[in-house]
């Protein structure tokens, strides 16, 4: 159960994904720059796992999730779903792939058409992608409503008649309609009350087991991600700074940003809370239109070194399955390597 068994094959492979948005300004609306919302991220999502994607607002996590589903035309990069390249494909060619990959949105209020009944909303993907008869569709909608815990009797009602948690269930039922393999959940619980969040998270877990789903779970709620994710990726300013199996990330984070982020989460237990050593980051996230030179985090990093302001750190596998992009760990692993080699050399000398 620990790190996704390496024998299992990745369902989604993302390589060097870039999503830049142009900025136009001036009288002639010239292109004056670009917002580097996602700036070269690579990761795999193993079949059946939940990859948590966390970060602060504006770090590019939602853009990343949408780009993976090709809701945008990418700036560059490769995305393979079940081995099939979908990165550069034109939108029309993606239609066949759409039933395999679906999305659950953050705001259940805005993502459901207020003029459509629940029946019509859940049925829409079936209308688009299948040739089922009206009766079969009706039956399928009922089954989906059962699966997400909605009462069949409410199929004829409109979204406004439902509470936030129930609306999110409608959104989930719609995403499940075409039996997808892969679902991107973009902050699915952020708009819900605490007592309702747990209901939706448990539902997502049940459905994953029942239908063998793979999730990309995007959230800013680090405690909920710790609960649901198998592995977790941390994003900062368009880049993944750390990616690791859940427990490794939460118990021994490598990147200073992850450390600070975790330490900032308030603890709902006063005796534990008193022991938390907070790392208070100074300042705000820089603008993704004008990221700093070197490491993106160098402007706020409490452990910043000279090299961080010059050279962008590479992502390396510091421990098995635990990736980090930080000069601290390049140096330690290099020096560790060096000292080990020296020690060996010394021993050899002594031996002779």
């Amino acid at each position: 159960m620990l790190d996704a068994a390496p024998s299992k094959k990745p369902l989604v492979e993302v390589r060097e994904l870039k999503m830049h948005f142009p900025i136009y300004a001036g009288l002639l609306r010239r292109r004056v720059g670009e917002v580097k919302a996602v700036d070269g991220v690579s990761f795999d999502i193993i079949e059946g796992e939940t990859l948590g994607l966390v970060g602060e607002s504006g770090c590019g996590k939602s853009t990343c999730g949408r780009a993976v589903l090709r809701l945008y035309d990418l700036t560059s990069g490769s995305i393979r779903l079940e081995g099939k390249e979908i990165g550069p494909a034109p939108q029309a060619a993606l239609r066949d792939m759409r039933p395999r990959m679906q999305m659950v949105f953050q705001d259940p209020q805005a993502s459901l058409n207020p003029r459509m009944t629940v029946q019509a909303i859940i049925q829409e993907p079936l209308d688009e992608h299948t040739t089922l008869s009206t009766k079969e569709k009706q039956q399928k909608v009922y089954e989906l409503m059962d699966a997400v815990g909605l009462n069949r009797r409410f199929a004829g009602r409109y979204p406004h008649a439902f509470s936030g948690g129930q609306r999110q269930r409608i959104g989930i039922a719609r995403a499940l309609a075409l039996n997808p393999k892969f679902i991107v959940c973009d902050e699915p619980i952020a708009a819900l009350d605490v007592s309702i969040q747990a209901q939706v998270v448990n539902l997502l877990e049940d459905l994953q087991e029942q239908f063998g789903l793979t999730y990309l779970f995007i959230s800013h709620d680090l405690s909920m991600v710790r609960h649901i994710a198998t592995r977790v990726a941390v994003m900062y300013l368009g880049k993944i700074v750390e990616l690791a199996p859940r427990e490794a990330l939460y118990s021994a984070p490598l990147h200073p940003y992850t450390e600070a982020l975790l330490s900032a989460v308030p603890e709902p237990d006063p005796s534990l809370e008193a022991k938390v050593e907070r790392i208070i980051l100074q300042g705000d996230v820089p603008s993704p239109a004008n990221p700093p030179k070197g490491c993106n985090f160098c402007t706020r990093c409490p452990k910043v070194m000279d090299i961080c302001r010059e050279v962008e750190p590479e992502t390396r596998e510091v421990r098995p399955g635990h990736f980090a992009a930080c000069h601290l760990h390049e140096i330690t692993s290099q020096t560790a390597g060096k000292t080990a080699a020296q020690k060996e050399a010394n021993e050899r000398q002594h031996g002779e």
Binding site: D193, V194, S195, A198, S223, E267, P270, D284
Partner: protein, 333 residues
């Protein structure tokens, strides 16, 4: 630690009702609490539990109609705010009582500079001239931790980031040395790292200025870190009230217990499955004649449907509104 003094603010039996088409919604039902000088009172509850409406009712901030404060007393230094005229209330708002709202973007006026908005209460309430007000405004922005305070006075709200905007709101709220500061979800719209900055700032300011604070939030984690005492609200009423350690260490109301269990932690044990509270919070068309949490409560008994329990004292400063707890206490006595 704040047990001594007379309360600065006392709320007794507050009832607020909204008149809507086809009836009424009883948003606040018989809420009572007090606030001692220098203490931080946390108010926890889900959306719709009546926590914001309670605080808005105190200062007559709700539009009437549809809102109507039907009953109760709000004593600020012995003066009943529900009986004072609008002019006096206006002096108190932003004067003796400061307010910080959840969303710093919508609570600042986008067409005025930040400097103007900080100086406004200083000139209105404190009668300062322009020069004195400006000097004080710079002082306040520095207090709130905004770098380059003097230059930033002439900036507009959109030129500030979310965290900085909330600092501006704090500066405005503190402008007239309030005795009571009401913060309504002040960090909910912020990222965790920025939230940590604002919480640190508030802790620091409380030590420096010694005002009493009411901090409304739905985040139990935030409350655990800053509050002295906590009231838990559900269905428009206070269901539990206790000192912070007592509340987290020895919660008694089934709602509080359930709420504490539904929230996963980033540090403690990881549970395999989250505990859930079934159902939805109630919408109260009439004053509740039974326990409002009854339908979602795991340990409800017949008695719960018959009456709405009142708050029973079960320990030092710890009271609970639950039929089961009442019965247990009665058996003890």
């Amino acid at each position: 630690m704040h047990d001594g003094g007379r309360p600065v603010l006392e709320v007794q039996g507050l009832k607020t009702v909204f008149r809507v088409r086809g009836g009424e919604i009883h948003a606040v039902n018989d809420v009572s609490f007090d606030l001692k000088p220098g203490e931080l009172l946390g108010v926890v509850g889900e959306s719709g539990s009546g926590k914001s409406v309670t605080m808005m009712s105190l200062l007559g901030l709700l539009p009437s109609p549809p809102a109507e404060v039907r009953d109760g007393k709000v004593l600020l230094d012995g003066q009943d705010l529900l009986k004072t005229d609008e002019d006096t209330l206006r002096d108190i708002r932003g004067g003796k009582v400061g307010f910080i709202f959840q969303d710093p973007m919508t609570s600042l006026n986008p067409v005025f500079t930040v400097g103007y908005q900080i100086m406004e209460p200083l000139r209105k309430h404190m009668g300062m001239d322009k020069k004195a007000a400006k000097a004080r405004a710079v002082e306040l922005l520095e207090l709130a931790g905004i770098p380059g305070a003097e230059q930033r006075l002439s900036d507009y709200p959109h030129q500030f980031s979310g965290g900085m905007r909330q600092r501006v709101m704090i500066a405005i709220a503190l402008a007239c040395d309030p005795k009571v500061l009401i913060a309504d979800e002040p960090t909910t719209a912020l990222d965790v790292t920025i939230q940590a900055q604002i919480i640190e700032l508030m802790k620091e300011l409380r030590q420096k200025l010694g005002m009493a604070v009411i901090w409304i939030t739905h985040d139990l984690g935030v409350i655990a870190g800053i509050a002295d005492r906590v009231i838990v609200m559900y269905g428009g009423q206070v269901v539990e009230h206790a000192p912070v350690r007592e509340l987290f260490g020895n919660p008694q109301h089934p709602y509080t217990k359930a709420l504490l269990k539904t929230v996963p932690s980033v540090r403690g044990e990881r549970v395999r499955r989250l505990t859930i509270i079934e159902g939805q919070p109630p919408i109260l068309g009439a004053p509740p004649s039974s326990c409002p949490f009854r339908d979602r409560c795991g340990s409800a008994v017949d008695e719960c449907a018959r009456r709405n329990p009142s708050r029973t004292l079960i320990g030092k400063g710890h009271d609970v509104a639950c039929v089961m707890v009442e019965q247990k206490e009665a058996a003890h006595a």
